[in-house]
């Protein structure tokens, strides 16, 4: 089956004010969509809608020709979503956080926790509470899901925020490999991103 994501004429409004409308696109395997726009242009809202967390004011989203609202369970099986908030529990340690997301995924293909810690360069902090990590380390921990188990579609809101140059490179490498293996990604980012092989589509949201 062809894995693709289609959005048709999406619109979003907030307290009666239209944030954006007529957003349509199609994403095929191996492609990446970069969402750009000024602050307040609705990037995060669009990503939330695409992840199925919010309902759009108008329009439909289809995953493999099925509406994501009718088949949300099937859609979320293939989706990694990361918002501004890191989605990690501050009261749990690094290892406990990773174990929690491992348990929540119910995925049999999960990587060993130690390997993930090595990729994230968090091995030394493994028993530190997430509350005591730096902003960049928290972000890395939030990104751990991407390495922990494979999923086709990544929807990431400003993934590079707070990351140092080294880890930005590691992340971009991982992203590129993901796309080469037939994955898809939707990113919002203020950074300029260049991809060697992957085909990048750009969606610019007008400021309102």
């Amino acid at each position: 089956m062809i894995k693709n994501l289609t959005a048709t004429r999406l619109a979003c409004s907030y307290f009666g004010k239209i944030i954006f409308e007529h957003i349509s696109f199609e994403l095929m395997k191996g492609e990446i969509l970069l969402v750009q726009g000024d602050n307040g242009s609705g990037k995060s809202s669009l990503l939330r809608i695409l992840a199925g967390l919010s309902t759009p004011a108008f329009g439909n989203i289809f995953w493999q020709a099925e509406s994501i609202h009718m088949h949300s369970w099937k859609y979320h099986e293939h989706l990694h979503y990361m918002s501004h908030q890191n989605g990690i529990k501050l009261g749990l340690s690094v290892v406990e956080n990773i174990q929690l997301s491992k348990h929540l995924s119910l995925s049999p293909y999960a990587l060993a926790v130690d390997e993930v810690l090595q990729i994230l360069q968090l091995s030394i902090q493994r028993h530190t509470l997430a509350a005591y990590l730096s902003a960049g380390q928290k972000r890395r921990l939030a990104l751990s899901k991407l390495f922990l188990f494979p999923k086709t579609l990544w929807i990431l809101d400003e993934p590079l925020t707070a990351l140092d140059m080294d880890f930005q490179a590691i992340f971009l490498d991982a992203l590129e490999t993901h796309l080469q293996h037939g994955g898809m990604a939707i990113l919002s980012s203020h950074h300029l991103l260049h991809f060697k092989k992957a085909k990048a589509k750009i969606l610019r949201l007008a400021s309102c």
Binding site: L53, S54, G87, L104
Partner: protein, 223 residues
């Protein structure tokens, strides 16, 4: 799935344990309220023996209200609830795990302390036992109903009072049967009726309420 439930329960308990105010405040509140009653009303032992079960129930009700308000606030703040919405584990299962943890952390200590408070006021052992049993059956219902209120009012500011106004009327049946269980045993009557009723309510809330709570959370997050 069962593994996921167990781990969620474990991590919720760990979180509550590490935030000691979550379980210390309700217990301290409970003890203080109960010790205020004799000061305000009467120190006559026979009067207290008759009235104390009711006071204990009201104190437990207020203490449970105290702890329920912020139950989902941290999950929303750190974005964890979004990850749960998108995960393969049903949200209602998470709700159940969270509520079990919440009950163990905030209500179980009250029940453990009840015999001590009972001894303080010279309650007979039999009454203490029945009182503990009634709290054991009743307080999970309070946690479940309170959680529904917390999920429905998620995102509102200053919801403490609103929660009280919404929830306290809903807890009336639990209060009536919980207290009547103790009163009937004190009067030497059979307590099977209230036990059956409370157990029925407990089973009903445990099996049905996780779904509307999960739905309420979903709606609250769909901005």
């Amino acid at each position: 799935m069962l593994n996921a439930f167990r781990f969620m329960l474990y991590s919720e308990l760990l979180l509550l344990w590490r935030r000691s105010q979550e379980w210390l405040y309700p217990v301290a509140f409970f003890v203080i309220i109960v010790s205020l009653f004799p000061l305000a009303l009467s120190v006559d032992p026979t009067f207290l023996k008759k009235m104390l079960p009711g006071y204990l129930w009201i104190a437990a009700l207020l203490a449970s209200l105290l702890s329920i308000e912020n139950s989902y606030a941290t999950d929303v703040e750190d974005g964890n609830i979004e990850q749960l919405l998108l995960s393969q584990v049903p949200l209602s299962l998470f709700v159940l795990a969270k509520l079990c943890a919440q009950w163990i952390a905030t209500e179980l200590p009250l029940i453990i302390l009840t015999p001590l408070l009972g001894l303080l006021f010279h309650l007979p052992a039999n009454t203490i036992l029945i009182l503990c049993l009634s709290l054991l059956l009743g307080t999970p219902i309070l946690t479940m109903v309170g959680s529904l209120g917390a999920a429905l009012t998620l995102g509102l500011r200053q919801r403490g009072v609103l929660l009280g106004l919404l929830l306290l009327p809903l807890t009336i049946p639990v209060l009536i049967f919980g207290v009547s269980m103790v009163q009937q045993s004190q009067a030497g009557l059979s307590i099977v009726g209230p036990i059956v009723f409370l157990t029925g309510l407990l089973v009903l809330t445990l099996t049905v309420l996780p779904y509307p709570i999960a739905a309420a959370l979903r709606v609250s997050l769909d901005e």
